[in-house]
């Protein structure tokens, strides 16, 4: 699947001065009113949809420019690549730069919001390398976005950088989520270090609902190995203290282990250590390396062919599961995994991330296979072999 265009340029627009840069608009389908034309939408910055009467406030969104009615007081024209937009989606416009970014797609199962690019880690294989700059406008934009989301949605994710860099503002966002959206799952990808301060864990517990999970990367049971991977001395200590405090306040925790050359060298030891010291976490995610961002620059230290850790990975899964932990594997194709773990291998968390190779066409497992990242510069395992025997698919049921 081709990745969707999430940002791009505005073709043409005319809007009331009250609309400013970084305002967030919610998309409404006009199908019923405009004879099923899928290229005309109404968009609004208001939380309630009862304000449609007044023409001053109506903003028309045209895709592909064929049907523009320039008599409209407010209109925006977007290129064809945005024709996937649909009712419930949310877009931020930057009028001075004539560009836009799609922030939320109702049809996506996994909407992730970037909270900040600031981070106290500098991981060797970071896929979104952090930046040290003031980007508080991102948080402000999120504050406008959350109230516009559909009142029910399955999943909302927050990533960074480190989302808790600006603790109070981000906690406000979580409260907004709870006030406006009934989400089945809210997932925050955090390194957990801010929770070394028990008070912050307590504050989070006051705004968090049961649906919130903090996903925390953990790379080793050994201090210097974890610290080296995240490039920050003392990181393991703070992350572990953070996890203990989150647990103390009953918050849901997910542990994420990215499988690279360094972390897989002692993978079973790490798994055993997690099984003994952190058996209370809600989920352990073992994740194939995304070959993008810093992973490209550090190719020689982080890249490893997944077939090399095949056995260690299945043993680790067994160790973790034996104490009752729920475990999933992400971002790794079936053909490099031991069959005993196929049933916990999940397709990529972002739907545009599953790409396949020509030889995959003959593979029985393709419909369920996580495939490869379509982003970055995928490096291929020597173990890619189409699955011919459809009987093994039984394992997936």
């Amino acid at each position: 699947m081709k990745p969707l265009t999430l940002s791009g340029n505005i073709v043409d627009f005319k809007v009331n001065k009250k609309y400013q840069d970084n305002d967030v608009f919610r998309v409404f389908d006009m199908q019923s009113k405009h004879g099923g034309n899928k290229n005309i939408y109404l968009i609004t910055t208001e939380e309630s949809e009862n304000l449609w009467g007044d023409d001053e406030n109506k903003v028309y969104l045209y895709i592909d420019g064929l049907y523009i009615n320039k008599k409209n007081k407010n209109f925006i024209v977007l290129p064809k690549s945005f024709s996937y937009l649909s009712s419930g989606d949310a877009i931020a416009f930057n009028f001075s730069k004539k560009n836009l970014r799609v922030l939320f797609r109702e049809n996506s199962r996994h909407n992730y919001f970037l909270v900040t690019e600031n981070c106290n880690h500098y991981c060797l294989m970071c896929s979104q390398p952090p930046k040290n700059l003031d980007d508080s406008w991102v948080l402000n934009r999120l504050k406008k976005l959350i109230p516009l989301l559909p009142c029910k949605t399955d999943f909302i994710g927050f990533t960074g950088g480190e989302p808790f860099t600006n603790v109070d503002s981000f906690l406000e966002i979580i409260s907004l989520c709870n006030a406006h959206v009934q989400a089945n799952h809210i997932h925050v990808l955090s390194n957990g270090r801010y929770f070394k301060d028990r008070l912050i864990a307590e504050k989070l517990s006051k705004v968090a609902n049961k649906n919130l999970t903090i996903g925390i990367p953990l790379y080793s049971s050994v201090d210097w190995i974890h610290d080296y991977v995240v490039q920050s001395k003392g990181a393991l200590n703070e992350t572990m203290m953070g996890i203990l405090h989150l647990k103390e306040y009953g918050l849901n925790i997910e542990i994420r282990v990215v499988l690279n050359k360094i972390t897989t060298e002692r993978l079973e030891e790490t798994a055993l250590w997690i099984s003994k010291n952190l058996p209370f976490v809600n989920h352990v995610a073992l994740m194939g390396l995304e070959n993008t961002g810093f992973a490209l620059a550090n190719d020689d230290v982080v890249w490893i062919d997944p077939v090399e850790y095949k056995k260690a990975l299945s043993n680790s899964v067994n160790i973790l599961q034996s104490v009752g932990l729920s475990v999933s594997i992400y971002n790794l194709p079936f053909c490099v995994l031991d069959q005993s773990v196929w049933n916990i291998s999940r397709q990529s968390i972002a739907d545009w991330k599953n790409a396949y190779l020509p030889q995959c066409e003959t593979c029985q497992a393709k419909p369920y296979c996580a495939g490869f990242f379509s982003s970055g510069r995928p490096k291929l395992s020597s173990g890619i072999t189409p699955v011919k025997d459809s009987k093994v698919l039984e394992l997936l049921k």
Binding site: V222, D223, Y228, K233, L244, A297
Partner: protein, 484 residues
């Protein structure tokens, strides 16, 4: 271009390195087992042990990583390891927050069997003398419901409890009323040889969820030899009734225990096959206990602990083979040890914990109203020794019993955490205080551990299991599947 730091920039400095508490023991092959405060353990060479003790280890040398992962060493300015260990220790001792979950009622001493190693039963038919009276039973239930534990289990024992089933019915009904009144969950189990089982009893048990625990010593000839009764059909009756319960009620409602006698030693496979064929879901290869008539009749002395350990090892390897063929069939003693080795889930098993489970884990209400700290305690009492007698239901309540000087003194005297030998023992976190055993064999609740067969058995079994876990991945995988 971004700059990344190298591995050595993150190495712990030698002066930051501290030792955390750990214990070690030399094995027969010269290797050492080292264990952290909570029983995470592995094998090391003498040289490796010395290096750890002298902090002669360096990040990247492999030994540093193993020692750090097992929490033998820490980085002094960092506190996460100590905090993690503390949190885990709290979970391991959680059973202290829910004292006395198990209450055993000896509803009668009478029995129609005459097993030579039996500790307590009477062949007498004098109901007046050896049955528990109703008012004592009800008082016992009242005491049981006074325990702080949010869930209690009531176990019916004998003698043969089916000889006094009418009392069991009364106790069940009364407990159910109390349970809904004061919102404390109650479950039931009855230990019976099943010879007197009938449809009415089974239907009552099924209706009131009274689980069945029975005895099965192995194949017919062995079982009947161990358990003589008029008619010589103990095995027949047990088997027939086990199958009947399984068919009419379900496999999970009946379990069996075996007693290892001298005659069992040569036929561990036969015994295990019997359990597999009867779908009993696992087996407990337990040694004979040194109580009551087993001592009096010298039965206990008939085999030594090495013979039992060989029996256990042979049995375990046979059981592992059965599991390899795809059948989930645990050996329960191994499973208990594994749970302690691999998890911090507090164990309910009274002999494998410290503070000991006597009184705090279980109380025994004898037919005559006397309350004992352990089942074996009343067996000793039958021989005139009242060491474990805690009180009398006719005048004492739960708190009189649990706070009695006697119980407190026995428990505090036997804590493995500070008992001689145990406190330095590598297996301590996985082991337990067994005051009753040591009293029965050494007339001392603490006991000299180097003379204790309990101790040598623990050392043998635990190191045997740790060895499999570390060195045999295929068997280890099976063992891990037993802890849940």
């Amino acid at each position: 271009m971004v700059k990344f730091l190298s591995q050595s920039d993150f190495f712990t400095q030698k002066e930051e390195l501290v030792l955390l508490p750990f214990r070690f023991e030399r094995m027969a092959d010269g290797r050492f087992i080292i264990s952290n405060l909570l029983g995470d353990m592995d094998f090391f060479t003498e040289d490796e042990l010395n290096k750890i003790v002298n902090k002669d280890i360096f990040p990247g040398d492999g030994l540093y990583e193993r020692a750090f992962s097992l929490q033998f060493i820490a980085n002094a300015p960092q506190e996460f390891q100590l905090q993690t260990l503390a949190a885990r220790l709290r979970s391991r001792l959680q059973f202290l927050q829910t004292p006395t979950p198990l209450h055993i009622f000896v509803v009668t001493l009478r029995c129609e069997h005459s097993c030579p190693y039996c500790q307590v039963s009477r062949r007498s038919c004098d109901k007046q003398l050896y049955d528990m009276p109703l008012e004592i039973a009800f008082k016992g239930v009242d005491v049981a419901f006074q325990t702080p534990s949010p869930a209690i289990k009531i176990e019916f024992q004998g003698g043969e409890p089916l000889l006094n089933f009418s009392l069991i019915k009364e106790i069940v009904l009364y407990s159910e009323r109390k349970s809904s009144e004061i919102k404390k969950y109650v479950s039931f189990v009855m230990t019976t040889n099943l010879a007197l089982m009938d449809d009415n009893i089974l239907s009552f048990c099924k209706h009131h969820n009274v689980h069945i625990s029975t005895s099965l010593d192995g194949p017919e000839s062995l079982h009947n030899k161990n358990r003589p009764r008029p008619g010589g059909n103990s095995y027949q009756l047990a088997k027939q009734n086990i199958q009947k319960i399984q068919k009419e009620w379900g496999n999970d409602y009946v379990s069996a225990l075996m007693t290892t006698t001298e005659a069992s030693l040569s036929d561990v496979k036969g015994i295990i096959d019997e359990y597999v064929n009867l779908n009993l879901g696992g087996i407990f290869l337990r040694p004979l206990s040194p109580y009551g008539f087993a001592i009096k009749t010298k039965y206990y002395k008939k085999y030594d602990d090495h013979e039992w350990f060989d029996f256990y090892k042979k049995g375990l390897s046979y059981i592992l083979d059965i599991n390899k063929k795809g059948k989930h069939f645990p050996e329960f003693y191994t499973a208990l040890i594994l749970k302690r080795l691999l998890t911090d889930i507090p164990t309910g098993y009274v002999d494998l914990r410290s503070p000991s489970g006597i009184g705090l884990g279980a109380l025994i209400y004898n037919y005559d109203g006397k309350v004992y700290a352990a089942d074996e305690g009343r067996m000793l009492a039958e021989m005139g020794d009242h060491e474990f007698l805690l009180g009398d239901i006719k005048k004492d309540d739960y708190f009189d019993i649990i706070l009695s000087e006697k119980l407190i003194s026995i428990i505090s005297k036997t804590l493995t955490q500070c008992a001689p030998q145990c406190k330095d023992c590598v297996f301590e976190p996985v082991c337990g205080a067994d005051p009753v055993y040591h009293y029965a064999t050494q007339k001392d609740v603490l006991g000299i551990k180097s003379l204790s067969k309990f101790c040598s058995r623990q050392k043998n079994v635990i190191s045997y299991i740790v060895n499999i876990l570390q060195n045999d991945p295929e068997d280890a995988k099976i063992l891990r599947s037993w802890i849940r």
